[in-house]
Every structure is written in structure tokens, then in C-alpha cells.
Symmetry: C2
Subunit: 464 residues, 2 copies
């Protein structure tokens, strides 16, 4: 983008935005240059709209002058979706952060995109209501970001992903036009489902300015079982046995031996270091007795399942919380090793997940490189972390070579290269491995139907 | 379409389709001219592809010669989606009707679009598996049709609509290109969600040739409660009370007094003729005791709820079946009155539904016209049936005037003009009342991204 175009754009937006809504200072701007991928791209200006009208007007100007605009939520994404790779505008939602309505009778919330996910959770908790999507970034990520990325979370096994809860959207097209879709109805087949299309479109199609979310009643009781296995493929059978029992678990998580040992080291916790896998299973519900009965059944299923060396039902919430700490500490423990991370967010048919874990564990590699695998086993969604040193080119090259092997195996298993983190920058180069033929050009035509000039979050999803 | 273009098209397809795959005989063709809307449009030819390759090749020819193609499932639709309004090809899936795979370990089914919905249900039942979407047309409708229309059904309250179960699609674009999307994974964020876009696109974007469906375990137990109310708005409070209890009912259905009395007349059943509404509530689950406890809680909630004059928990499956017969017999009973039907499939925020029922019941009208309202109260989805005589122009005009008033009230309540039947032909003229501004042109641009020549199911959703 030329300086002249940017100058013209800035002159125009100063006509309707206050000085406090415009950041040009490079030091402050650097704040908007990164996310959780550790990559960095500087925007030329950061803008803070305070209304849909602000967004609409600034998009009209951006269209007129061909200025790139990259919407940003909490910048906690793991695929680079919020990075302004072509410079231009970083669009912050920090001032569009109000919970507009909690409609208890219809069980809907209406929010602005900048609301921190956890702030909604707190607001709902006091009313006995529940918005299931609760990604691990919840205290930093925004609902707009969660919607744009169709965020997953541990309890998606039972409750589904973010898309399943979005029933209405207000959005601004790159042209500045405002569209309103859906509302507080659980069903709606009037016209194409643009809501489902915008959810997970990673900020490349339109700018979301208002979100209507379906709510549930908060489950009153939950129970957690922890099991160790001495054999990975047997974990596949255990997972199938749980589902086939008729119980709908709310979470099934898996950690491989590298993940177990790293957490044990980091926390000084007495985990079973010889185990091939640790599996966490949780059930929740309305009635205490029914959840208790399901938890007992799950524990017994674990105990009877081949390969299980130990299965323990958490005695109380404190012990359950301790089990979950092991899972939550995987990433921090891995980070504490001081290595660089190359992460794959692959998803395969559920039964295949333990086989993929065995595949990643068995990959030939130099001693310098470690691969830890863990993830949402109930969804078949695995986070594979290749630990390497970025500045050692041999290691970096090997890490990328291993990543490609994992991607190939995922595709061979009928899987997808990303289950919840998105394509963004990090998966972009590999996407044609999965989406073949006319499907990707078709997605580009849909992009053009929304954004003919390509000014909205350019340089993402599609390789130039 | 000119005869010459059709001739050229037919000559070409005879190169790869057998005679038995082509129907030109007008008498046999008339079979493909109607659906459940009682409208009729003759196709010029009906084709019976036997493979994806057949579909791909015939679409290439249709594109070349600009021949309209209208995909047809069981032709049970209520919005005219399967009617060949521009003539051309009626595309039948009668020979693409195989269940390709039931993957019990991953809990997925892979089917061709022509599989009769109920045939899959039967196949799954024997394995303890469950595909929740079960529209009332299930013995005649096809899974391809259910997917194209994003069909609803009574248990959508708990289990969601058809879209929530489609995880993979193979589809043929109007150009003849075959695309493959998703697969046997429950999560997937690689690229735009074209699957959700195709589901509910009413056969206007692409021709679905293979469907991968997520399955659940069949609930073992279900219990049904029937309640009468002497006041409609109180039904809103009852529905809210049920949801707020934490119970997730699988169905909440409502019948107004006209529906009650028509069914009572038709079946000679002892229904409470003075009631303002009849409400059916069902819960299901894995464990007998838990479902029993929920059923008791629901019954007590009904008994404590203002306006409820009677609440009865079905003693056994036979009695539950009898309760459900009342609901299922609404449409046949109305049909037996020998009047013409003008039906609205409106959906409003759940709490508003009883108010909409009161509104439709209170509409000023001549004595000749009756309005019966009933529907999926738990979803806020109402089927309003305006009984009139089509050949009496005054009545016909009045029926359409009433329909428009109902649509206006629906929009005013924040609702949608169609909850599960689709836009097709019947809602097309009214769609701009609901979808305003740039959203409809945007949908047309998406249509053009798939079907630049407009040969696929032309004359639907968008008014020319």
C-alpha cells in the first residue's frame, strides 16, 4: 500500500473518528503486531471503532482507497488470523465490548464482538445460564474472535463448537454496508446460511459487530475419571466403548507419554511416568444421581477396558480440578522447556486418534527434537507440538519436514489439517493438500462475493 | 428454453446414459411435476443418474446448453423446492439410493442422497445407533432432500436440525466439477464452511451426491407428558419453566383449540375441547431412573404452572404413542376438512410463540376461513394453516392477506418466515420483508459463485 493512499484514508477517517480512536504511534502500534503464533507484522494504524456506524464509515473509506483492514480480537489465536500481514489497519474491538442483553426467557445473549469470553461466562453463571464454548484462552480472547475462528474447547464433545451457538449476526461488509442475519430463533431456513459461513471465516469476509448467542442451562453436577493406559491403540477402543455405552461424555482428553512426563517434571506431580497415555473423561448433567451413575459406569468401563492400568474417579471437585490441572499444564510445561514450538491442530475420525498419536510418537527424528501430543480425543482433535530450536536451521527444517509427514498421515486417515485453530497463515501453504480440485477456487469466489477488492484480512487462508 | 437446446442436450447425454435412465414420456413425466405444495410444473425430461460420474457428465452438458436442472428427492417438500418451474431436467436420485457405510467405531454413516430417510433409521436401529433428524415425511423423503432443505423435526429442541449432523459432502457443481468437503470428523475449520452453506441451500448451489452423517447412540428410554392450558400466554411461561428447570426436553409441541377440536372430530377422540392449548413434552435419555425422574419433575412443573388445567404423564409407551397420535393427526385431520391450505412455517423467539398463536387465533376473518395453529413450540416454530377455498377468489385473497399479516407479526417479533420448510417458491415473494439491504444481493452473488449461468434449480429463493 502506498503512503499516499494511507494519507488520504487517514484524512478522511479523521472526519468522523476522534483522535482517541486512532493510534499511529509506532510503539503503541507494536502491541497490535503479534498474536500467540509468535509471528509479527506491523499495522500502519490501529483504529478503535465505538459503534457499527464507525465500522461502516471506516470500511467505506478503506474500500475507496484500497487500504487493508485486519480485525483483531484478543490476539490469542494460534494460526495468525489477527496479524496485519499486509499492513494497513489493525481494527480493535476493545471499545465494542458491551454485553447488550441477556434474555433469560428465550435463553439468548446479545453481545458486541469485543466482549472478553470469560466476562460473559461470569455474567451468565450468576443466572444459572451457560454458554458452552469456553476455549483455553477464555480470559483473554474475545467472543468476536471465538466466532471468527469457530473456536473449540474441551467440552465440544457433548456441546458442539462455537458455530452451534451463533444464531444471529450483525456484520459490516468491506463496502461498508451493514447486514443483519438471524436473531433469537433456534431454527431458521430463510435463505442461505450466511451465519454459519461467517462463523469460522477468520475475519476475511465481513466484520462482525453484533452477535446473538443461544444459551443453555448450566449443568449442576460433573464428575471426572482419570485413566492410564499402557498401550495407545487400546485408547481407541476405550473411547469407542464410552460412546457406545450411551453415555454422552462432555470431555475426553488424551496426553501421550511425552506430555505426561513433561507435566510431571514441571509440576513435580506424581504421574505414572511409564504410561503410554493418560485419558481424562468427564460427564455432567442436571441430576446428581444420574451423573454419579454415569461416572461409576465410565469408571467400570475404563477398568474393564484392555490396556488400562489404572482408573480413578475423582472423589470430589478438588480432585477433579487436580486432574484437569495436568491437562491444562501441558502447554505451559512444554513452553517451560525453552524450545520453539511448531504446532499441528489436526483432527481425524475419532477412532483413529490414538493411532495418529502412535504415528507421531514413532516418527524418526534427531535427538534434539521432541514431539508431544495431546488433545481432544473425544473429537479426534490432536495438538501435536514439535519442539525444536528455530535458529538451528537443521532443526527448523526437520521440524517442518515432520509437520508435513503428520499432515500427510492426517489426510490419509480421512482427517483435516485444523480442527479448531483455523487456517490463517500457519496452515495456508498446506491447505491444498486437503482441499482439492474446484473447492478452493470456489472458496475464493465466495471471498470475492463479499470482498471484491480483497481488503479484508488479506494474505490469509488462500495462498497468493 | 428452446427445443433446439434441449435436443442438443438430449443427443449428448444419450452418449453416456442408458435409455432406462432417461424419461421423456409425458405421462411418466407428470410424476416429477409435483410435490406436497399441490403446485405443478412439468419437466421436459427426467434423468436417473446411477453414479457421481453420471451427474458430473450430465451437468457439463446442461451447462454447455443452458438447460435448467432441478434435483428431486422424495418430493415431499412444502415450499416447492423440487418443482422444475423452468422446465428442463428433473433429476431423480431414485438410483443413487445406497447406504454406503455405517461406521460403528466412529459413529458415522455415509449415504447416497436418494436413500429414504426411514431406511437409514431402520438400519441404525438394529445397531443401537441413532440419526436424530426424523421429519414427519420420513417414510417418503430422501436424505438428500432433508439435507438440501435442512429439515427439522419434533425432537430438534434437544438434538438440533439436519445441518448439525452433516459432516461431509460430495457435490457436483453446475459446471460438472466434483468437490469433496469434510469427512468423518466432528470438528473441522479448514477453509470456509461450504458444508453448512450447501445444507439448506434448497438444491440451488450444487448437486449433493454423497453425504457423511454423524450418528449418536439411540436413547433407551423416553417419557411423554400431555398438558392442557386454558390460556395461551401461560404456555409461554410453562415452556420457559421447563427449560429453566435444567431438563433438556427432546420435544415440546403445541396445538391450539382449532387443532384440538379438528383432531377430536376426526379421530372421535376424547380431547378437552374447551382448552386453549394442548402441550406435549417429551424427555429421553440413557438411564431409566434419570428419565423417570425428569418426567416426574416435568409433570409437577406442568401441574404447578398457571393456566394448566390438566397434566398427565403417559403410563407407558402405548399411552405415549396415543398422545403423539393427536399431534401427528393434526395435518391429516385438517386435510379431511376438504378445504385448501395456505401454510406458514414461521419461527419466533421461543417465549413469543404462544403470543403468536394468540395473534393468529384472534385475526379478524370471514366465517368461511379457519386458521389452525400448531407446531414445535420448544423451537418457537409454528405451522399456521389458513383453511380456505382456492376457487373462491374472495377467500383466496383473504387467505393471502391473513398470511401477510402473520408474516408481518413474525418479523415484528424478531422471527423468521420459515423455520424448516424452506423458501423455495412459496416464501420467495416475502423474503425481502425479512432479509433486508445488502444481504439478499450478497446471497445472489454467492449463488453466482456456484452457478454463474443460473441453471441449477432456477426460479427459487430469489425473485426475478
Amino acid at each position: 500500500m502506498t503512503i499516499m493512499r494511507l494519507e488520504k484514508f487517514l484524512n478522511e477517517i479523521k472526519g468522523f473518528l476522534k483522535d482517541s480512536q486512532i493510534v499511529l504511534d509506532r510503539e503503541r502500534l507494536s502491541h497490535f503486531s503479534y498474536d500467540a503464533t509468535e509471528r509479527q507484522y506491523m499495522p500502519q494504524v490501529a483504529l478503535f471503532p465505538e459503534s457499527t456506524e464507525d465500522v461502516s464509515r471506516l470500511m467505506k473509506c478503506a474500500s475507496l482507497h484500497g487500504v487493508p483492514v485486519t480485525p483483531q480480537g484478543g490476539r490469542t489465536g494460534l494460526s495468525g488470523g489477527a496479524l496485519p500481514v499486509r499492513g494497513g489497519v489493525a481494527l480493535s474491538f476493545a471499545r465494542l465490548n458491551r454485553i447488550l442483553e441477556i434474555d433469560e426467557a428465550n435463553m439468548f445473549a446479545v453481545v458486541q464482538p469485543g466482549v472478553i469470553s470469560n466476562d460473559l461466562q461470569i455474567e451468565l453463571k450468576g443466572r444459572g445460564l451457560f454458554f458452552p464454548p469456553d476455549p483455553s484462552s477464555t480470559v483473554d480472547s474475545t467472543l468476536g474472535g471465538n466466532v471468527a475462528e469457530n473456536a473449540g474447547y474441551t467440552r465440544a464433545v457433548k456441546y458442539g463448537v462455537t458455530r452451534d451457538y451463533v444464531r444471529g449476526l450483525e456484520a459490516v461488509l468491506p463496502s461498508g454496508e451493514v447486514i443483519t442475519l438471524g436473531g433469537k430463533t433456534v431454527k431458521n431456513v430463510a435463505g442461505y446460511d450466511l451465519i454459519s459461513l461467517l462463523v469460522g471465516s477468520e475475519g476475511t469476509l465481513a466484520i462482525i459487530t453484533k452477535i446473538t448467542l443461544r444459551l443453555l442451562m448450566r449443568p449442576r453436577v460433573r464428575r471426572t475419571v482419570m485413566a492410564y493406559l499402557n498401550d495407545l491403540p487400546e485408547a481407541a477402543d476405550l473411547i469407542v466403548a464410552i460412546f457406545r455405552s450411551g453415555i454422552v461424555p462432555c470431555a475426553i482428553e488424551l496426553m501421550d507419554s511425552i506430555a505426561i512426563n513433561t507435566v510431571a517434571d514441571h509440576l513435580g506431580a506424581a504421574l505414572s511416568r511409564d504410561a503410554a497415555a493418560l485419558v481424562l473423561i468427564e460427564t455432567d448433567g442436571h441430576g446428581e444421581e444420574e451423573v454419579e451413575a454415569e461416572a461409576m459406569e465410565m469408571t467400570n468401563l475404563c477398568r474393564r477396558s484392555p490396556g488400562v492400568t489404572e482408573a480413578r474417579l475423582a472423589a470430589d471437585d478438588t480432585e477433579a480440578e487436580r486432574f484437569w490441572t495436568y491437562r491444562r499444564e501441558v502447554l505451559p510445561s512444554l513452553k517451560a522447556l525453552g524450545k520453539d514450538h511448531l504446532e499441528a491442530d489436526v483432527v481425524v475420525p475419532r477412532y483413529n486418534l490414538p493411532f495418529l498419536v502412535r504415528f507421531t510418537g514413532g516418527l524418526k527424528r534427531s535427538d534434539a527434537i521432541k514431539i508431544a501430543t495431546y488433545g481432544h480425543a473425544g473429537d479426534g482433535n490432536l495438538h501435536v507440538t514439535i519442539l525444536h530450536r528455530r535458529r538451528n536451521f537443521a532443526e527448523l527444517e526437520e521440524a517442518y519436514r515432520l509437520l508435513e509427514l503428520i499432515y500427510r498421515e492426517t489426510i490419509a486417515m480421512g482427517g483435516s489439517l485444523t480442527g479448531e485453530h483455523g487456517v490463517g497463515l500457519t496452515v495456508m501453504d498446506y491447505l491444498p493438500m486437503q482441499i482439492e480440485g474446484e473447492a478452493l477456487p470456489l472458496m475464493r469466489r465466495i471471498k470475492a462475493a463479499f470482498d471484491p477488492m480483497g481488503i479484508l484480512n488479506p494474505g490469509k487462508i488462500f495462498k497468493d
